[in-house]
Amino acid sequence: MNSTLLFWLPLAVVMVSALAGIGIFMAGEQRQGLRTMLNLFAAVAKLVLVGVMGLAVLGGEAPEFRMALLPGLDLVLRADALSMLFATLSAVLWLVTTVYAIAYLERGADRARFFGFFSLCVTATMGVAMAGNLLTFFIFYELLTLTTWPLVIHSGTRAAFAGARTYLVHTLGASAVFLVGMVWLYGLTGAQDFIAGGTLAALQLEYTLQLKVIFGLLVIGMGVKAALFPLHSWLPRAMVAPAPVSALLHAVAVVKAGAFGLVRVVEDIYGPELIAALGLGLPLVIIAGFTILYGSVLALYQRDIKKRLAYSTVSQVSYIALGIGIGGPIATIGGIVHLVHQGLMKIALFFCAGIYANLLGIKKIDQLDGVGRRMPWTSLCFSIGALGMIGLPPVAGFITKWYLGAGAVAVGMDWVIGILVASTLLNAAYFLPVLKRIWLHAPPAAWPADPTVSLLEVRGMVGAALVVAAMALGVGLFAGHPLSPLNWVTGIAAGYFP
Amino acid sequence: MSHAEVWVIAAAAVFGIGLYSLLIASHLLRQLIAIKVMGSAIFLVLVVAAGPIDGALDGLPKALVLTGIVIAISAIAFALALLVRLAEVTGSTSLEDEADDDR
């Protein structure tokens, strides 16, 4: 792999969906065929490029794109093991979600605007994944906020704007806090790239208090998007967005960007030893643990399907924070690998919720009676996702919980197991009754809505849901396979705990 | 008291009267005259503060004042055209009555 290719590859990966987005904007509303073609071509091209880059990373090389941005500060896009994990996840799920979205919005309005910002949003996610230093991360992190705002207000209703406003208030407020933290950090250390194991060890003695405050600021900055407890309230309100948006947004792009940021801060800036030395792990675990329980309890009370899934996301994402907060190789593996598992499972659930809403007009949980007979395949995917969430063995969720528990014991935080058990019970409490309704209850006389729907739409949406559910299952079953996310994360964690 | 002080005090007094009238006058024409009068006072200070009085006054500030006078008249001429047009269109000759004109 010659060096010029290694230089331009990361930029190409990030930019391919941006070009598609601009193309879609230019194409305009009417040319639907061209738009779909552009969408699919860009998604496939990105997947191929990510694949090529993955091979390069496996081959030991580190493709890196560097551009002088500010005096002494560079825009760096680099493909290391961790960024490849998130980049691959995003690329795969983007392709699936595009197929799903095309089917879902067959009769919707303003599709050019939707898909344009949709691809820009993935560009931002890719940028977040590939960022090589905190400044680049911040640039794409903010770009993510800007590109997701139009998606949230897509339907243009009053509720959409209320949700969007809360979303903005939280994210822009957090960005101000994040900016202060970053400026403070750059004030102390100067321009530093992400280096596995952290770069601040030398400063520990001199600036202990300042490092702690900076850590707090950065966690708040990331915490909003990662929906940690006090900062999570925007997530349920942003459910007004159409299903593909809440699927990609709240299962993959926005929420994961926040969690990924937390991983970067803990692992690549502070480094596990410094976190342990400064005792910053414990507060993070406490917040994460509380969020897990808080999210699950609130999910119980939700009657709307998507709201329940939203609160479940709030609690699930905190597993990642929990994992890296506990520290130690095992728990960190559990935390990081949950990045992938939660993504797959949650997107499956959101796809199914979207199908129910779009095809049968079902929005509330008590309308789900007997839907298993009417739509067997969708309900199957929904069940796989739900079981995974609860943490039953064959599906991916189990592996995360197992590693988190083992990791906590290894480090001596036995009480964390209590949280894990409690959350599993709560998950079961809010998912099992739903499954019971779907499969065991008798279907109602007439479904709320039964619009005449083209076969293409049905096959597109259900197909996407099936693919994602299969992947969730496959990741769980073939965890031992060398290319599985689990082994991939074990390799990453090896970098942090030599 | 050499001559310079006389002129400076006169210029200061004229400047003060001009500013007072600018603030008090409600008719724009009066305000434009005030601006022109204040301008003359400033030119006076410019020439007097620059050179020795008994010897030949320094020629450069005089040229500047000449330029200043021509600029002053072009500004006042445009202001008067603007004032007449404003009076024609809105019927008012003062900035105070804020009839809300925008659509």
Binding site: F25, E29, A68, L69, L70, P71, L75, R107, A109, R113, I139, F140, Y141, E142, L143, T145, L146, W149, I153, G156, F161, A164, R165, L168, L172, A176, V180, V183, W184, Y186, G187 | L22, L28, I35, M38, G39, I42, L46, A49, A50, L60, P61, L64, T67, G68, I71, A75, F78, A79, L82, L83, R85, L86, V89, T90, L95, E98, A99, D101, D102
Partner: protein, 486 residues
Amino acid sequence: MIAEALAGLVFLPLLAACAVAVVPKRAVGVFVWSGLLPLPALLLPLTEAVWREGLVRLAVAGFASPLGIEWRVDALALVVLWLNALIAVFVGLYAARDYPPGSARGGRFWALWLLLTSAMNALLLSADLFNLFVTLELVTLAAIGLLVIDGKPAALRAAMRYLLLALLGSLFYLLGVALIYGQAGTLDLYQAGERLGPGLLPVTALVLMTMGLLVKSAIFPLHGWLPAAHGNAPGPVSAVLSAMVVKVSVYLIWRLWLWLAADWQPAWALPLLGLLGAGAILYGSVLAFLQVRLKMMVAYSTVAQLGYLMLLFPLLGPLGYSAASYHLLSHGLAKAAMFLAVSNILAVMGTDRLDRLAGADRRLPLDTLTLALAGVSILGLPPSGGFVSKWLMLQAAWAIDGWLWLAVILAGGLLAAAYLFRPLAVLCARPATAQAADDGSPPSATGLHWSGVVALLLALGALAAGLAPAPVLALLERGLPPGILP
């Protein structure tokens, strides 16, 4: 070669303006574009020279500075010259739609437009205090002439108020020049700086000149005339007013404080100027949020953004200096794009009142996008030039532990978010009535019309400024004012 470039910058548009005033209507177009388009080309050799030597000097008419007038181009002047050239050409291209060179009103419009461009170039080049007064007057007259070209009553009243205040400002400036000439015996900005010491008189002169210029650049307490003037001006005129005319007097304030008074700056005044800026940011943003009309909102946003330029004084240092100059550049581009987009919306929708613009983005997709992109730069969010200047300013505030300035900059950003996302939300809203009326089939979206593209290009320029600031910042780094140690 450099002398020809400098002469071209001033005399080309000047002679073109004279030609436009003389030739019959059908030939006006040729002279307009031959006066405007070569400007960026003329700047290329100049940029190369400034990059090589850091400073280019030219004694006009061959007489050295105490007697004659001298032209000086350093990094800051070059950056603002580039902004002026870009605005003159791009907003000019936009204006060709509303005021075609062949029309009756077009002749007068383009004569004033060319005079304005030439006057601003002359001002940016000049290093002579009285020559700056003359060019400032020419800029003011040409700008107000453009402001009233449509003859709207509101524009006439705003123009009258602007003219009165501008003339008053010039008087104070002239009094300052009189004092400085009396003390230093020379009118050259840099020579006078060396000859004057931190006595009472030089400081008084500096304060007088600054007061005059503060009125002209509408900084916070003296900003009364700006919203009405920029809000009621025709589209392209409000763009050039906000992006350039107001900035030029702030540029002059910088020249006075950082070059003329480099070594005898009254230290007590720096935080005061900073407070003016902070007041402008907060007051302007709140007022912008309360506006009903889109153009007035953008005008108040100018009042707020000008506050950032005044924050240079408390944050004096290489970081603060390059931050403020970069802000001047990126705000110019972004604000021009925003005003053009707004005037497009005004032209198509017939009104710019927010309560009547619901769902306008369907008919004007391009202009809504421009408004959003320009808003990103005004807000200071990452991929834009605004972010680069905000980032540098935060670091500068950080270096001197300026907690107040840190808070003001962040608050400015958040308030800007408040007043910028509100119109965007309105534009993208789906009014209940329209929903039922056309059930999904959008009204005829005005396709890729020329003026929309020009506005978009300016907005993209503001964003590009965010991605490639390195060369400009390096250039600014080399031309630091004497008052600032690298």
